[in-house]
């Protein structure tokens, strides 16, 4: 009952505090960003800037090859604005790329240079097509070799060689998230854990500033009850904001139970870390350095999540790595619920193990800064 009354008091205090609304505001901002700013899928079409120095027959053949490469090809005669310059171009847009055909090489080269992109002049030489590539200097040796090798064999022979190579998928059919959905785990971990860490510390420092922790300590209620009431408040706001953001992006297409237990347990874990941290300092300014380092450290798995090529083994020692993967499993169709459940269980056990440390620290430091 004391925990319940303490929680109700925290809820009342929270509803009158800036940090409470900051968390809700962050959730609203995340929803707006994800639903209105972030596209369903990021633009991945490549741009090619081409000048055709060919006679009309070969030019026609080249254009035909563009139409042959894709089922959806559109042609638009348009004006390409590059800074103050305007160029008349034919824009062929396929599913995979935009091909800009220029009527002179100077304009093409100027555009490629300004856009820091690949430019090509295709011309006839020795009864064959000849390609002049205009690279920007940042291309890798590997890319240059690929460009060279493309022209070693003719297209028909190359296709025949490709067809000889058997390709077998080991993973079966994979569910694919849209780019927007793929960002959701990052926002969930940010909103639920990083914000939680900062906000619970802020709540504690507010209480320390008012000295109410000392008054609470001289009641028949336990210090751990006081700390748990803070954790409960954070859990409730994290659940509300996490479900709101997930509903906004996924609709009803996610694992409700998985989200509930992972938000609850990961939030609990991060809150305990925030409590232990705040027990060492009297105010938020003093704690800012350590808080900042901790938040950076906990953010590293998010970088690894966005850059699959950078995923060192030690990243897996950072708990937020499992939060992000867990949140992904929750929103992916046929996600691994066992992973989510196990991750939640580990967070719960770690929280239970750390709770006595937080309580001990607060008992020990009751007369310090509050």
């Amino acid at each position: 009952m004391k925990l319940w009354h303490s929680f109700l008091k925290e809820l009342k205090l929270g509803s009158k505090s800036f940090y409470f609304y900051m968390e809700l505001l962050m959730a609203v901002i995340i929803i707006v960003i994800l639903t209105m700013v972030v596209p369903e899928n990021f633009e991945s079409k490549a741009n090619e800037y081409i000048f055709l120095d060919l006679d009309s027959n070969f030019e026609e053949m080249f254009i035909d090859s563009i139409y042959a490469s894709s089922d959806n090809v559109t042609l638009e005669e348009t004006i390409l604005e590059i800074g103050k310059d305007e160029f008349n171009v034919d824009l062929y847009e396929t599913d995979e790329k935009r091909i800009y055909i220029f009527d002179n090489e100077v304009d093409m080269k100027k555009t490629a240079e300004k856009k820091k992109s690949l430019g090509v002049t295709i011309k006839l030489q020795d009864n064959g097509m000849f390609f002049d590539y205009y690279l920007q200097g940042y291309e890798s040796e590997k890319f240059i070799n690929i460009v060279k090798s493309v022209h070693v064999l003719d297209a028909v022979t190359m296709q025949a060689e490709y067809d000889k190579i058997p390709v077998k998928s080991l993973g079966g059919t994979q569910d694919v998230l849209t780019d927007r959905e793929n960002l959701l785990p990052l926002f969930l971990y940010f909103n639920g854990s990083l914000m939680g860490l900062f906000i619970i510390a802020a709540y504690i420092f507010l209480d320390k500033g008012e000295g109410v922790i000392r008054a609470y300590a001289i009641t028949a209620s336990k210090v751990s009850t006081y700390l748990l009431s803070k954790v409960l408040l954070l859990s409730v706001t994290s659940l509300v904001t996490s479900f709101a953001v997930t509903f906004a992006v996924m609709g009803f297409d996610f694992n409700f139970l998985g989200l509930f237990i992972l938000v609850l347990t990961s939030g609990f874990f991060v809150s305990i870390i925030g409590l232990i941290l705040s027990s060492y300092y009297s105010n938020i300014m003093q704690s800012f350095g350590v808080l900042y380092i901790l938040i950076i450290l906990l953010s590293l798995p998010a970088i690894a999540y966005n850059i699959p090529a950078w995923n060192p083994a030690w990243i897996q020692a950072i708990p937020t790595h499992y939060m992000i993967i867990g949140f992904k499993e929750i929103i992916i169709e046929n996600g691994d619920f066992m992973y989510v459940a196990l991750t939640s269980l580990v967070f719960l056990l770690m929280s239970i193990a750390l709770m006595p440390v937080a309580t001990y620290r607060f008992k020990k430091t009751l007369t310090v800064g509050g």
Binding site: H5, G211, A215, T219, A220, L366
Partner: protein
Amino acid sequence: MIKVSGLKHSYAKDGTYAVNDISFEVKKGEVFGFLGPSGAGKSTTQNILTGLLQLQEGQVEVAGYDVKKIKNNMFNQIGMSFEQSNVYSKLSAKENLDFYAKLFDVETRDPMALLDMVGLKEKANDKAGSFSKGMKHRLTFARSLINNPTLWFLDEPTTGLDPAIAAEIKEIIREEHKKGATIFLTTHNMQIADELCDRVAFMVDGEIKLIDSPKNLKLQYGDKVVEVEYVKDNETIKETLSTIIVEDKAKLKIIIDNYEILTMHTKEATLEEIFITVTGRGLV
């Protein structure tokens, strides 16, 4: 109600002690004053007694509980009025008391009655954050009574209050004492200690220099003289006469019988003067 034996506490843990081997007892129903200047070790001792500071050395028993193994039940019997107000500024005065009332396992007092007692009834629904320093202090004082404590710790209960309010607070303390509460009063205000305490302890540099009742201390350290100011032959005369020496007593009688007395005072030592005599230190 309180038993302290060989209590030591060091913040630096380098052999220097904020509280150095003190022992005392507070009997049930007693008002015990803990007096001394800032930095004497009063607050450290009080914080150990209330569990706010962990016991390092010595034995401390409060309300029958060993402070080394504090049980939450102990706090059902304890009230504490802090020197610095510490209330939830975003809650109203009544909400503050309502909340604390729910943290005890014993019957609690009516928050409105407590607010009325400290003159805050009209402000019951105002946020504590809008209160003046004195009002916050009164709210903190009222909160300390919410669980009807049998052992009541008061840390500078009248500091920062205007004289009229301070007099009311002193009256409340007397009333609670009459009801049987044991009171541990920490202060550097000798006047309030003199008025309220059954016994006082003088503390300086972490050590208790003396424990006795104010009355005994005055008898022991006060001068047994009378200062009298009277008019003789149109001239104002001031004399100091002993109340023990026979000649002085006779002379005093003659003055009273024959001349117009302007002022007459017994030269009783104040607690502050006694403190300075005993400890060789002032109170600031």
